[in-house]
Structures are given as C-alpha cells and as structure tokens.
C-alpha cells in the first residue's frame, strides 16, 4: 500500500534534467563543431552564469546583498597570477588554490561587514573591495597599478598550440560553471538550504525555531567567496592579464551580475539562467551603440523590481507552476479510496 511521501522533484524537472544533459553534451562537444569566437561567447556565458548563481545564493537566499563580490573575482585572478608567475607553481594547481585563498580571506572580511545590516552591508562589502583594489595597486610584487601578465611559458603549460588552449580553457570554464551550479544546487537541497529558505522568508522566525542564522550566513558567505575566487582565477586565465581596475571592477563582476539575477528572478535557480541570456542578447544586439545596453539593463531591472519583483522566471513559475531545479519539498498524498477524509 502507498503512503504519503515527500517529493523532491516534479515531472517537469525530471524531463528537463534529460534535456539539460543533452544540451550540456552538445556544448561539451563544441570544440569539435564551433569556432573560436562562438566558444569564447559560450565560455563568457558560462562564467557569468556561475557568478550570477553565486550572487543569487548570497542575496536571494541568504539575504546578504553584497555589491563587493568583485573583491573575490580579483583576488582569485591575482592569486593565480602570483602563484604561477612569482612562485612558478603549476597553473592547474594555482587555479585550485585560488578559490580556497579567496575563501580564506573572506573570513576576516566577514568579521567587519557582518556588523552592518541591509543596505549598509552592501556598501561595506564595496569598501572592502576598494581596499583590495587599492592595496593591489600599491604592492610592487603584484605589478602595482599596471598589474600582472601571464608569461608565455605559463600559457604554453596549458597547451602548446592556440587551438588546444582555447578548447581546454573552454571546457574548464564549462566544467567550473557546472561545478558551481552543482554546489549551489546541492547546498540548497541540503539542510543548510532549508535553513536558508527559512532565513530568507523571516530571519527572526527561523532563529526562534533553532536555526543558527549567523553560522548559516557565515558558511554561505565563505563558500560563495571561495567559488567566486575560483571563477575569477579562470576568468583572468582566459584574459591573460589582471590589473587592479579590471580585477576589482564593480561594473564587470557585480553590477551586470545583479542585473542578470534581478531580471531573471532573484531567489530561484532558474532566474540567473534567464537573466544571463537576456543580458548577453541585449549586449550583442546593442554592441554598436556604446554603453546603451547598460542603460537599458538598468531600466529593465528597475521595471522588473517595481512591477514583477520575482523576475521573468518567477512570473513563469507562478503562472505555470513550473520548477526545473526543485529545491523544496512537497507532500504527495497517497491515493486514498476514502473520500470522507479531508
């Protein structure tokens, strides 16, 4: 006999899982069918998606609205360049260290910024990022104001020829984007995810039910910083150069990411996908018109925030009861012959 059970997936999510695997397989095969330009665009989409998922985890789930995540992108980039350049470390090993290094530095940062609430937390994280940027521009071994470049020897370490290098970097970006998504997805499905959802909905209520809100937020902040550092290392491995301005750029690594998440739907896993696609589409469409695409993104983000705060995906999910990456729990009642029972 069937009993009531807790369901963690939906029919749509199971069908979509198959579609997603097929789509991913097509993208993995891209070095064999795509050209270098297309691969670069997809790689860019992949790392923006990773950054958007991470910011969404922070702001949409943990309520930590940071505008200072560029700090960890830059730290990841600088860690990679310093370890390979000054210490002659293997480039893959350096990339592996870049993430935990950013995570480690986020611990003392959290001591300062966790004292601030709400919007003040946001600007506080920004100040910290400025401190990192200014410090990098003062430290001689980090190239001071002009930054660091990867030497040709290190570049050849990835792969001897250009085509091989592009394929490897592309696949690595794809892999890290999937990895970051996997971490966020599993984290949200775990008990920390349940705690996070509770905190998002009401911090005092979840605290009174025994959720350690400080510890949960702290863990999310550090994990996010580590993953952002890893993505940052990868981004600058592709760019081959890092400088204080490029590494700690609030516009490149935080502003557009926030717009993606807000437009797509904050607090959902699907939202960042949608927002990233909207961003890339608008940018490519308006490529010849300077920074108008940013103005347009700003206007759309404001309109979404005021008229449909749950974003494009939130609107779709509500209307069609659709969840592609379910993180919640639903009670499925066993079919029962006894209709008199409620």
């Amino acid at each position: 006999m069937e009993t009531d059970r807790v369901e963690r997936g939906t029919r749509a999510s199971r069908i979509f899982a198959v579609v997603a695997v097929v789509m991913l397989a097509v993208l993995v095969a891209m070095p064999w069918w795509g050209d270098a330009g297309e691969m670069r665009l997809v790689a860019e989409m992949a790392y923006y998606l990773a950054l958007a998922q991470l910011w969404n985890l922070l702001a949409g789930y943990a309520g930590l609205v940071s505008v200072g995540q560029q700090a960890y992108v830059g730290l990841g980039g600088y860690a990679l360049f310093y370890l390979t350049g000054a210490l002659n470390m293997n480039v893959y090993l350096a990339l592996l260290i870049a993430g935990p290094f950013a995570g480690l530095l986020s611990i003392p940062v959290s001591i300062a910024v966790f004292r601030l609430r709400g919007a003040y937390f946001a600007i506080g994280t920004w100040v910290v990022s400025e401190v990192f940027a200014l410090s990098a521009s003062l430290i001689a071994v980090l190239g001071a104001g002009s930054g660091l470049s990867l030497t040709p020897a290190i570049v050849r370490e990835i792969a001897p020829d250009r085509a091989g290098r592009e394929a490897i970097l592309y696949l690595m970006t794809l892999a890290i984007s999937v990895l970051v998504f996997g971490i966020v997805y599993l984290l949200l499905r775990s008990r920390h995810g349940l705690a996070l959802t509770a905190i998002r909905d009401s911090e005092p209520a979840s605290a009174s039910l025994g959720v350690n809100t400080f510890r949960t937020k702290f863990i999310i902040y550090v994990v996010t910083a580590a993953c952002t550092g890893l993505v940052g290392g990868l981004i600058f491995l592709q760019k081959l150069r890092v400088s204080p301005e490029a590494g700690f750029s609030i516009n490149d690594w935080t502003v557009v990411v926030i717009f993606m998440v807000v437009i797509g739907g904050i607090g959902t896993l699907e939202g960042p996908f949608v927002g990233m696609l909207v961003f890339i589409f608008l940018r490519e469409l308006l490529a010849d018109y300077g920074s108008y695409y940013l103005i347009l993104m700003g206007i759309i983000a404001i309109a979404v925030m005021l008229k449909a705060p749950s974003g494009i995906w939130g609107w779709i999910a509500q209307r069609y009861d659709l969840q592609l990456f379910p993180v919640g729990r639903r009670l499925a009642l066993a079919p029962s012959g006894d209709v008199s029972k409620p």
Binding site: V65, A122, V127, I295
Partner: protein, 288 residues
C-alpha cells in the same frame, strides 16, 4: 608642526565629506532609504553646473541659483515617481532601484559628455591661501567649504527643530504609520525630503567639482566617502556626520603625508577599524 598642518588640512577636508554625506543621511534618517545613486547625483549636479556655466557664462558658484532648483525638482520627481514605490517591500527594492538609477546616470553622462575629465573654474579663490606662524598655510577655499558645511548643518538643525515641516520629518522618521494617521501625507513629504537632500547634494557637487577633476565614473567613490562619514559619525546624527567627515579627512591626510598613494586607502582602513571597534558609530541616534 607638520603634523599640526596635516591635522588642520584633514579637518577642513572633512567639510566636503560632510556635505557629501548630508543628502545620504537625510534620506536614510527620514525614509530609511539608502540611495546608491547618491554619488552619481553629486556628479550629475556638477555636470548641470558645467552646462549652465558654459551656457550663461556665470561662474560655478553663481550657477547654484539654477542648479539647486533643478536638483530639488529632480529629487522630488525621483522620489514621487519612482522611489516611493519601493518603500513598502523590504530591503531589496530600494537598493536595486537606486542601483539601477546609478548605472543609468553614469552611462547617460558617459554617452552625453564622453569619458573626459572636467573641472569647474571659479578663479582666484581656488589658489588663495592664508599664512600662519610656523609655516602653516591654509587654503581659503577649504575654509569656505568647511563654513558652508557648518551653515548647511545649522540650517538643517533649524529646519528640523523650529519649523512645522521639520516636525513632520521627525514624526515620519519616528513612526511613519502613526504620522500618516495624524494627517501627514507621507508620500509627498518623502518627495520634499529627497528634494531637500538634493539641495545639499547640488551644493556639494558644485563645491567638489571646483576643487577636483570629475568624470562620469566619479560618483561611486563619492558615495563611499559619504557613506563612511555617515557610519563613522553614527547613523542619524547630523553633527556626528561632520565629525565623521573630519575623521575621514584626517585619516586621509595622515595617509597622504606618509605617501600620496595612501590617501584614499588610509581613509577606508580608518573606517573599517571604527566599524570593528564601534559598529554603531561614534554618536548613534537612529536605530535601524
């Protein structure tokens, strides 16, 4: 003597930071709005002054006759048309909407004026200085700016404690719902509040642009400096903001005395230290 000089220059530098901070502090104090676009509105004021000055041939400070009403109207319209809609929905809407406004202003200025650095020219007062015994030389212009900051804070004090409008501001700040029950039209009052905040923002923008080069991307650092002054002084404390600005200015002057590249960083570090030691600032008034 060198240190005394550093201390005096830093304190005077605090005047412009306090002026940056007044608008931010007002909108937080009255409607709990943290305006991320504040720095960009400071820079926008400077551009408005630039256009007026080029159009009329007036000097920048005289241009304030036009810039101030323009920015008041803009602040009123911004609050009435946009920001009022964000006040009931928690933390994210006001933050993200003002964030969007910030990006629109920055990129709008970039498209309209290009990325060139600009400067407002006020003439002889910029370089005039007073000589004191011991080789201390103090610029006339920083003294004027500091005086304006004192005047601005004094006039706000009068506004808040001597007028009906000020009483209404204090009432909605304490309890917006009850104030509304007593017949205050909160939405209109908020619009007036942002308008008044923009008056001080306009003054700050023009005074800063006479002293410093600016470009469309100059806003965010002004927001950060204003924010640091507000937090150091303590949320909601007007005179605390002036002291916060002065502490920030002194920290920067000390940093600059060690090495010119250290100026801004020293200010940030002083801010972070105060944040860790005294998270609610030196003179906290408002409870968030």
């Amino acid at each position: 003597m060198a240190w005394l000089n550093t201390f005096i220059q830093g304190s005077l530098l605090g005047g412009i930071y306090a002026l940056f901070a007044i608008g931010l502090s007002l909108s937080f104090g009255i409607m709990r709005l943290v305006n991320i676009a504040h720095g960009d509105l400071i820079v926008l004021s400077a551009y408005v002054a630039l256009v007026v000055s080029q159009g009329t041939g007036l000097d920048p400070i005289s241009c304030l006759v036009i810039v101030v009403p323009v920015m008041f109207a803009l602040g009123y319209a911004l609050q009435r048309g946009l920001l009022n809609q964000t006040l009931s929905g928690g933390l994210l809407p006001p933050l993200l909407v003002t964030f969007g406004v910030s990006i629109i202003i920055q990129n709008g200025l970039l498209q309209g004026f290009g990325a060139y650095t600009q400067r407002l020219q006020e003439g002889a007062i910029e370089t005039a200085s007073l000589q004191f015994p011991g080789g201390i030389s103090i610029g006339v212009y920083p003294i004027v700016v500091f005086g304006v900051a004192l005047l601005a804070l004094g006039s706000l004090q009068l506004l808040f404690y001597r007028t009906g409008l000020g009483r209404a501001f204090r009432a909605v700040s304490d309890d917006a719902d009850t104030a509304e029950l007593m017949g205050v039209d909160n939405r209109k009052l908020y619009a007036v509040a942002l308008g008044i905040a923009m008056i001080f923002t306009a003054i700050a923008g023009v005074l800063f642009a006479i002293r410093t080069n600016f470009d469309p991307a100059a806003g965010p650092i002004r927001l950060i400096l204003a924010f640091e002054a507000v937090i150091i002084g303590g949320l909601g404390s007007m005179w605390g903001t002036l002291l916060g600005g002065m502490i920030l200015g002194i920290a920067q002057s000390v940093g600059a005395a060690l090495s010119p590249t250290w100026q801004i960083l020293a200010g940030h570090i002083a801010f972070l230290i105060i944040l860790i030691v005294r998270p609610s600032g030196l003179f906290p008034r408002t409870r968030d």
